[in-house]
């Protein structure tokens, strides 16, 4: 009897927990995609979003997901979609910044029957294996934030990206550092595909213009203690430290590194790429982040051609201000949406979500040209953005500002 009671009790607790979990999940995914507006004549296409949502570089994932939702919401309300009888909805794939999750996240998106394209992923190391799946199935993939240069040189004609790459970002960082009067550097990368690519691009240009590298170190992404590295850096005494990696403690260690570098008594600045140019870096590194320099593809959203309107709409939808690569995700989603319109007009709505239609979408994206938030959106022969821009930022008074002493290229 007692045993039976115990069993019933345990079962109830398990049920309660299960419900609690389901409830939590429901809150996270919070947006409706306007499905209810459908009538018999409209076709709803799926745009996949892949990026870190629950773990990993989430501040580059959640906002980008919301930007994709915003693009879809605007498209669903547009005359063009109504005339063609098209609606879109977003299916999100949470890759947690984990390359080993990529194939299964991509596989889940591929299994959507009406998939017309994928916005994502963020981390270069995730974009690559996920891209393999999209490539196999001939689905267009537009990354909004993977900056590793060789991603567009892998013979995948379905891959595009809206952001500039480290092939531009690395040299820009080197030039900015030189312009600021730095001559000696310590170069650290976090062993991620992104970090290695950025470090190599930086190093090449830095040595070309005459800069000196006193020490090169490679850390692991999950590293938390950098005290011995800081001791080595202090002994080498460079003008600045270039950290090629991401900022957050679950997918990189930029903030911990910058913090310990200052705590360890190093006077010069830390410099990094877009992986650390995010508000979360400042929150995590605290006041030790002051003076940190970082380059990033694009410019501040408010300075972008259509930035003001984008910020307003984004805030209206989510209640948060956009940051990170959100504007690039918005443009990537719109590139897919515009390509779908094009194909639907030429071949008919029924032929869009077919293998031939997906092929046509890839070709349409390759030739696309429209004014986006970040500037004109079009792609070169490799699939890279044809209008890449990189800006240099500085942490001043607890926020990222455009570095006042660096001339814009």
């Amino acid at each position: 009897m007692k045993r039976k009671l115990r069993f019933i009790l345990a079962a109830m607790v398990a049920l309660a927990l299960a419900f609690a979990l389901v409830a939590c999940n429901g809150d996270d995914n919070g947006y409706e995609n306007g499905d209810d507006a459908r009538n018999g004549d409209t076709t709803t296409f799926v745009i996949g979003f892949g990026g870190p949502i629950s773990q990993g570089a989430v501040s580059f994932g959640v906002g980008a997901r919301d930007a994709t939702l915003l693009a879809v919401e605007q498209a669903n309300a547009s005359d063009e979609a109504r005339d063609l009888g098209i609606q879109f909805r977003v299916v999100e794939g949470d890759d947690q910044s984990d390359p080993s999750m990529a194939p299964q996240v991509a596989g889940a998106l591929i299994s959507e029957r009406d998939l017309v394209g994928v916005v994502g992923h963020f981390n270069s190391g995730v974009t690559d294996p996920a891209g393999l799946v999209y490539n196999e199935h001939g689905v267009v993939q537009i990354s909004y934030g993977s900056t590793r240069p060789d991603l567009t040189h892998m013979g995948r004609d379905n891959f595009f990206r809206t952001c500039a790459t480290d092939a531009l970002q690395g040299p820009t960082a080197a030039d900015s550092a030189w312009e600021l009067g730095f001559r000696t550097a310590v170069l650290i990368d976090d062993s991620s595909p992104y970090g290695e690519g950025l470090a190599a691009a930086f190093k090449e240009q830095w040595e070309n213009i005459g800069g000196e590298i006193l020490l090169e170190e490679r850390t692991a992404q999950q590293e938390s203690d950098f005290a011995p590295v800081v001791t080595r850096i202090n002994a080498a005494d460079p003008d600045f430290v270039f950290f090629a990696g991401t900022y957050d403690s679950s997918s990189g260690a930029g903030a911990m590194f910058a913090r310990q570098l200052k705590d360890g008594g190093f006077e010069g600045p830390t410099m990094g790429g877009d992986g650390i140019q995010v508000d979360g870096f400042i929150t995590e590194a605290g006041q030790q982040s002051e003076g940190t320099i970082a380059t990033k593809p694009g410019m501040p959203i408010e300075d972008m051609p259509e930035g003001a309107a984008f910020i307003e709409d984004f805030v209206a939808l989510t209640g948060n201000t956009p940051g990170g690569f959100d504007a690039f995700a918005f443009d990537a989603a719109n590139a897919i949406i515009n390509a779908v319109y094009e194909v639907a007009r030429a071949d008919g709505v029924d032929n869009v979500a077919t293998p031939a239609g997906r092929r046509a979408i890839i070709d349409a994206v390759a030739g696309i040209n429209f004014p986006g938030v970040t500037g004109p959106v079009s792609f070169d022969a490799n699939g890279d953005s044809a209008n890449p821009i990189v800006s240099t930022f500085l942490v001043d008074g607890g926020e990222w500002i455009i570095h006042p002493d660096v001339s814009t290229p």
Partner: protein, 328 residues
């Protein structure tokens, strides 16, 4: 020379944290011959509790939210400046933070022992091991869902304004490192005294030698084991809170690597042996610092584990693991 000493300081600070965690592994192993894989999660949970308490005492907006929720908490508003800016207040606050984190995590450890391990005490040892793995996954995911995957630890103003302590030459030690090192030494010393001198400590040693005989001698085995599961997690919680204070952030999976390192430290020193765990912790910390200082940080685990393998080849019981009598 200065380079070497600076690395030594870096290593000893890290090693102190490893030693605190390693003690939890070694205490439980000594008594139950079981490897408590959930112990790394005690470190993590302790860090999160420490984060919560510190936030409640020092962060104005958290206090405001909390007092809306429960009015009497608004008293914290008046104590906040005292806690965060004055030396006495800071010390007092740290005592509260560490005390609450240690006690709550200790109680959690006891609860886990009661429900996840005690029913399996007479089952094959593999069962308890699997139960511990399950506990570890449960705790990680519970914290992930209930709190979040990453929390930024507040730095009290007083601590932020402290300058690094210069020792000699260019050698300096960050205030937080000094606090960590001294606290670790005090705790390790106290635990050592407690186990070797006090009556409860004697009971623990007796239980570790022979549970049944100790029971026949009138020792309450269950409460001794519960005590063990209080002390280990409490020390782990202290290490977890230090982790947050030093690195500025606590994450739900932060237990993984320190946990592996601390377990290694326990094995290196001779698992089951208290002083062995302390020695192992400091040794691993220093080895890591020297390896990453003189070679590269990429080599630090290679060197550390190579030395572990060598030591285990020549001394299979670990550095201090021979004297079975001493094991606790």
């Amino acid at each position: 020379m200065e380079f070497f000493v600076q690395l030594l300081i870096d290593g000893l600070t890290l090693g102190g944290m490893y030693a605190l965690i390693a003690l939890g592994f070694t205490l439980v192993y000594g008594i139950l011959l079981m490897i408590n894989f959930a112990h790394a999660e005690m470190f993590m949970t302790g860090g999160f509790i420490g984060y919560g308490v510190l936030n409640l005492l020092s962060n104005e907006s958290t206090i405001a939210t909390a007092s809306d929720f429960f009015a009497p908490l608004s008293i914290l508003q008046s104590t906040q400046p005292f806690f965060t800016t004055t030396a006495l207040g800071f010390i007092l606050m740290m005592l509260i933070v560490f005390g609450v984190a240690a006690v709550l995590t200790g109680l959690l450890g006891m609860t886990i022992e009661r429900f996840a391990y005690r029913p399996l005490r007479n089952s094959p040892r593999l069962c308890a091991l699997i139960s511990a793995l399950g506990m570890s996954l449960f705790l990680q995911n519970f914290v992930l869902l209930a709190v979040g995957h990453r929390m930024v630890f507040p730095t009290p103003e007083f601590l932020a304004n402290l300058n690094a302590v210069p020792l000699f030459g260019s050698i300096r030690i960050a205030p937080i490192d000094l606090i960590i090192f001294v606290t670790c030494l005090v705790l390790l010393f106290t635990l050592d005294r407690f186990v070797s001198k006090s009556k409860l400590g004697k009971a623990m040693r007796a239980t570790s030698q022979d549970k049944d005989a100790a029971g026949l001698m009138g020792i309450n085995i269950n409460s001794v084991i519960a005590l063990t599961f209080f002390i280990g997690p409490a020390l782990g919680a202290v290490a977890g809170t230090f982790f947050g204070l030093k690195y500025g952030v606590v994450t739900f999976n932060m237990g993984l690597f320190p946990g592996i390192k601390a377990f290694t430290a326990a094995v290196l020193g001779g698992i089951g042996n208290l002083r062995g765990a302390m020695l192992g912790g400091f040794l691993i910390g220093v080895l890591e610092a020297l390896a990453s200082g003189y070679l590269s940080i990429a080599y630090r685990d290679v060197i550390t584990f190579a030395i572990l393998i060598l030591i285990l080849i020549f001394r299979p019981g670990g550095l201090l693991g021979e004297s079975v009598v001493e094991k606790v």
